[in-house]
């Protein structure tokens, strides 16, 4: 698929286009925000919970809310994207190998998968955080990524099962190609569309879980600006200074709505068979 064709397809799908635009804008805010912020993320600009500072007022320590919104997206963006990538890679590997190998291996892998599915995703993260004093960012990446893996694996296995019985896979095997090469060259390239849609969906959930952990008060970097943690910090003053909470809530909401629209648009494109 060449670039202009791809662009035209995206343009023909309003949901995908809208989602993409929203996602890119929020991601840009998260990336370049720190340079645009009028104050530093830890500068005290006035009394707590007042309208001092720039247009959104101050937070629980008297820091500028707008500056913290601009500075606080980077960690969520990076952690969510890495966790999604990890979950997709591990999940697709497990799913495709299970589908391709079949037999008892398939059965065993899928049983273990059921166990992992019995835990709501955030619960897995909470379980491990119980025995950890101060979570570090890579720990969140691992926990969220691994909680995605069984869900991705189930989907990938389903898609791969429809492919491994096709003639071109059988003929590749008959030519004596190695199992690894059959998976890499014949099976995976034919799974692109559903996997891309799944990745969009997983990114939506990643953002929700990562921001949710911050909202529950599990900060990876206490003191630093972070959209999820900001909600937790300023929650008590929702009545007097709502922007300390509403600004991060709205931007998290925009972000997940954008990625979800994108995932839905990709799924529709894939469903139409392009």
């Amino acid at each position: 698929m060449t670039a202009p064709v791809a662009l035209r397809r995206i343009g023909s799908q309003p949901r995908l286009l809208t989602g993409l635009v929203i996602t890119v804008v929020v991601a840009l805010v998260a990336i370049v925000g720190p340079w645009l912020a009028p104050y530093g993320e830890n500068d005290i600009v006035g009394k707590p919970f007042t309208h001092e500072g720039s247009w959104l007022g101050t937070d629980y320590l008297g820091q500028d809310v707008w500056s913290r919104v601009l500075c606080g997206g980077g960690s969520i963006l990076v952690i969510s994207v890495l966790a999604t990538a990890l979950g997709m890679i591990v999940g697709v590997m497990i799913g495709v190998v299970a589908a391709y190998a079949g037999g008892w291996l398939d059965e065993a892998v899928m049983r273990l998968n059921d166990v992992a599915l019995a835990f709501p995703q955030i619960l897995l993260a909470l379980l491990v955080l119980t025995a950890v004093d101060q979570p570090s960012w890579w720990m969140i990446v691992l926990l969220v990524g691994f909680s995605h893996a069984p869900r991705v694996a189930r989907l990938a296995r389903g898609v791969a099962l429809g492919i491994v019985s096709r003639d071109y896979v059988t003929s590749a095997e008959a030519l004596g190609e190695s199992r690894l090469r059959v998976i890499m060259a014949e099976v995976l390239p034919n799974m692109n569309a559903p996997l891309l849609a799944e990745a969009g969906l997983r990114l939506t959930y990643s953002i929700g879980i990562v921001a949710g952990l911050g909202f529950l008060g599990f900060a990876t970097n206490p003191g630093a600006a972070d959209w999820g943690v900001m909600i937790n910090e300023n929650r008590l003053a929702l009545l007097v200074q709502p922007w300390g909470v509403l600004a991060p809530v709205i931007i998290i909401g925009l972000f997940t709505v954008g990625t979800n629209l994108m995932a839905d648009g990709i799924a529709q494109l894939a469903g139409r068979g392009d």
Binding site: D114, I122, L126, R151, L155, T204, P242, L246, V249, T259
Partner: protein, 343 residues
């Protein structure tokens, strides 16, 4: 925000031929029950090792005191039996799960079994009320949407559902709080306050926002799945025949289409109910609702791992149980699957 990607599970394949219909049924049920027990046992292994073997519980409990008071480290280690081998501790704990001897909370020293009882009831009430509200709402939206397929109404409903489905549940909750209790209107309580151990539903007003949040978090998924299975049924030959016979469209929708969309509906509702068991974590925390979820967050923060283990097992058990019931129900509701088992 819920998990749509985990598609409804198809019930385990039925044995092809067997002596009587009754025994075939029992065999299928026994296999399904066995699987549920196996899953729960593996869950217990995962819960125990995730909380007790990764990280350092003592360091997490004592925080800054860890380095300064080695004698407290020693007493706590002995008290929690952390000096014993991991396998012994796991077996002790597993035995405790069966006998109801769940150990004591680290935070306040009370028996865990005494602390979690009320919490489980409170969460169950919250989830059940949400489900009772959510199911007719979701089916209603799906019916309206399917009936107006391709028209503007359908398009608008679809967009709203996708947007709502994308929002994390705590975002929905906070926006509702801002809308109804703090910033715009001041009509509903923002937190659950039930003093003196009274159950939260003794103040029904404080239940409205948590229930509304959970309904908004879950209904979009259910209605989308029900809509697409409705559309599938509406395109089938027997619905076409009913229309040709002159059956009014309203009755076609209700009798021919809706009834056939119930089975996929059951599967997705089960998944969502199971999801609610965990999704309540953030919502209960947000509204200070005295349930399993809020308790779990507090316990995780206090590194109160006897509590965390029991609460996590409760949530996993709900999930496994709900899925089991859903599988049995969808077999009962699908004549084709029923005969496949019985013949």
């Amino acid at each position: 925000m819920t998990d749509l990607a985990t598609k409804p599970t198809t019930p385990t394949a039925a044995p092809a031929r067997s002596s009587g219909a009754g025994t075939a049924w029992l065999k299928w049920l026994a296999r399904r029950l066995g699987l549920a027990v196996l899953t729960l046992w593996l869950c217990s292994v995962l819960v125990f090792f995730a909380t007790a073997a990764l990280g350092d519980p003592i360091r997490a409990i004592l925080g800054k005191d860890y380095a300064t008071s080695p004698e407290r480290v020693a007493t706590l280690t002995a008290e929690l039996k952390l000096d014993q081998p991991l396998i012994t501790r796991y077996l002790d704990w597993l035995g405790g799960l069966f006998t109801g001897n769940l150990g004591n909370s680290i935070a306040n020293g009370l028996p865990v079994s005494q602390l979690v009882g009320d919490r489980i009831v409170n969460s169950a009430v919250l989830v059940l009320i949400s489900a009772v509200v959510m199911i007719p709402v979701a089916f209603g939206i799906a019916l309206i949407s399917a009936n107006a397929r391709g028209k503007r109404t359908d398009g608008v409903i679809q967009i709203i559902m996708i947007v709502l489905a994308g929002l994390p549940e705590f975002v929905v909750g906070i926006l509702l709080v801002a809308l109804f209790s703090t910033t715009v209107l001041h009509v509903l309580p923002a937190v659950t306050i039930a003093g003196g151990g009274a159950p939260p539903w003794s103040k029904p007003g404080s239940m409205i926002l948590p229930v509304l949040t959970l309904v908004i978090a879950v209904a979009p998924y259910v209605s989308r799945i029900v809509r697409s299975s409705l559309l599938e049924v509406l395109d089938s030959d027997y619905v076409e025949l009913a229309r040709l016979k002159g059956v009014p469209e309203r009755i076609v929708l209700r009798k021919h289409a809706l009834l056939n969309a119930i089975v996929p509906g059951i599967q997705v509702i089960a998944l969502q109910l199971a999801w609610l068991a965990g999704g309540v974590v953030l919502v209960e925390y947000l509204f200070s609702y005295p349930g399993v979820g809020a308790s779990l967050v507090d316990s995780v923060r206090n590194s109160d791992f006897p509590m965390v283990q029991v609460l996590a097992m409760t949530i996993a058990a709900v999930y496994v149980g709900v899925n089991l019931i859903a599988d049995v129900l969808s077999i009962l509701f699908t004549p084709r699957a029923r005969t496949a088992i019985a013949s």
